[in-house]
Amino acid sequence: MLSRAARSLYRLGFLIERTENIARILDVNSRMSVEQEVFSELDVWSPMLEITHNREGFEERFGEVCAVNVVRLLLADSENPYSVRACIIEAREIARTAREMLSEELWLHINRFYLQMEHELGSGNLHRWHDFSENVHLFCNAFHGLRQNTMVRGDAWQFMRMGVALERAQMTQRILQIKYHLLLPSTHDVGSPLDMHQWQALLRSVSGYEAYRRLYKAKIEPAKVIKLLLLNPGFPRSLHFGIREVSLALREIGMCNEDQHRLYRDTEQFLDDLRGGAAGEDIISMGLHQYLQSVDTRCHMLGMQVHKAFFDTVTVSLEDDRERCFTIQINQQQQSGNTIFPHPLQKELCA
């Protein structure tokens, strides 16, 4: 499919997933903040700003780090790329430009939610943000349902799937990082009811609480939570699941140039590490925080490779004087809005 369209659909999937994750992060924090009354020194909002890259300059813009202000930033601030509103505005704009690639139902779903959101947030009233956040969950889940039910499994679908999967993989490990940032009042509290409560809130925020109980029964052990969220191949929000989705999407799309093959190899390698237990050992030897950071980097690299392999370059097949066929990747000058292409192409490239 058209590289520009592929980029749009990838980005659309990515944005919807990010929207959902922002709502989930808010969710985990508001669940964790329940005990803030008891442990007044517990700062639940700062870690959240940390993982959404919003910590810097927050005070200058919003003042005190507190629930109201953080919610405003993450839900309603259209200037903040890490807010629900900005993501939905962009997603809707992309859907508008890629409308011919989407099913009618999917487009209507996005546009309706956008109009409803602008109507609700336009008033600046955030009293009912819990309701709104819940609507975001519903919207995103319905989006995935419509995507599954109304779209042909063609390239458009696969690129969207890839955007969703990669962002989900990355965000699940970020949500885990909240727990790391959220220091307990003292080391005595490790394993305390508070600690347990936090793990439970975290599980709930990724819809993993029921899954956890089914797999490991009621007792919450951090090692098992980590295993579920990172390594379980069957849990739809786990890192493993996400990376496998990327790999499956790539296989369906097919590879036709070197960067695409490399991307696929790297994805498979990542998947192997997650599958083969190497990751489990890494988590122990590196420590959770270091491990999560390395995963973050790896996901980020995959994202860059996707751009390079599919959106920023185009593959050209050429024939030389002896009628030997070869392919070559050339950069697209997307930014300029126009391509000035050497003519005739052949001589220029073979020289």
């Binding site: 508008r96 109009l115 392919t327 192409l345």
Partner: protein
Amino acid sequence: MFDRTDAAPFDEAFGPDGRVRPEYAAAIDYFKKQGVQGIDHMHQSADLAMLNQGVTFTVYSDSRGTEKIFPFDLMPRLITAHEWDQIECGIVQRVTALNLFLEDIYHEQKILRSGLIPPSQILGSSLYCREMSGLNPIGGVHVQIAGIDLIRNQNGEHMVLEDNLRCPSGVSYVIENRLVSNRIMPELLGSYRVRPVSQYPQMLYEAMNSFSQSDKSTVAVLTPGVYNSAYFEHTFLASQMGAELVEGADLLVNNDKLYMKTTRGLKRIDVLYLRLDTEFIDPLVFRPDSLLGVPGLMHVYRAGNVTLANAPGNGVADDKSLYAYTPDIIRFYLGEEPILPIVPTYLGSRPADLKYMLNHLPELVVKPTDASGGYGLVVGSHASKQELAECSQRLKANPGHYVAQPIQQLSTHPSFVEQEDKQAFCSRHIDLRPFAICGADGDVKVLSGGLTRVALKRGSLVVNSSQGGGSKDTWVLYPDKNGIASGVSHA
């Protein structure tokens, strides 16, 4: 509920004696039954449906651009089978003749040799595209898609107001309006025998495909991008046709072939539906500062490796001064009398016409030949003495730059508006833009329907969306079973 104070001499729904025309009886009964509140409610549902569908155009009043819906008037405009026969034949005749005319002026120029049209009129026009001369589009077809603007005068005659042979827009509204009608008032729609319009994308695709030599051709729609006010229509047509929607940056030219950049490499394009003015399509040939087009596109076209629809250079056939010659063009190429009359037009470039214009300014509309959208237009009856004097000065100074037409009484149609603080169906001026498509065999097909635009402002003759215009669903009726061409089913 029906206020006829502003009705023109010819009203579509009511005869001169105030009686309802037979084909409108069922519609008027229906709306009377709904009551003002019911209609208001229906209107809101219609607007919401349009908004959710994203059937909008962009108004650039703030930085992000506000999206507005093109106001939709519930009361459909009805066209009987008998009336439509004449419109359809007239448009087929007109588009056929204009295609022959364009092929001629870019080749042998027989019509110029015959002396029917002064050569300066064509060759001196800034719209004459020298890059097209000697070029052979498949089938000699220059106009694949046309939108012909019609008005109805005081006698109820349909007349051609303007031809749009470059990139006529509005057809998406024709289809969307019908969808909304079907949703909001299915009973009324079902009680008439209305010809469908939803087959348009297929008609368009078949026509586009007929220009390709290969069986597996790729058709693409070239859009200037999401910021264009007609972007909705571009995505609509692309998705409905199953064509690719491309921007200039998605395309490249290599070895005189046109390609689009895909994730699997380059893919050849056979037919390109241009939704971009000629001057922007190729910076190597036309405007060098255009970032919207494709460098080298005209080379591909000249090499016969792509079909451009519409062909570049059609502007010379739809400009205001050529309009006066269109009846002669029809007679010259087809040997037939024009089926649809044009509004009598006086050309400043003809001395006799100029004299008439100067003597009859208060009865005329004076238009500059090169402007569109009502810019620079002087309506004699509405102008002050000073304005008329200035107009006459300008005319004398540069007569070739102006045309004039007698002021026309556009027909009116009941339209649901708020007037004097109450909502009612008031008479508002309307026009009609039917759409025609021409395939490689030169056969012109007209979509049985069209965009009826309505000037919602009281007394206004301007139907443009930017000036408070709206649209109506246009129902072209099948002939009645009894041969009475009313189209109302008596079941």
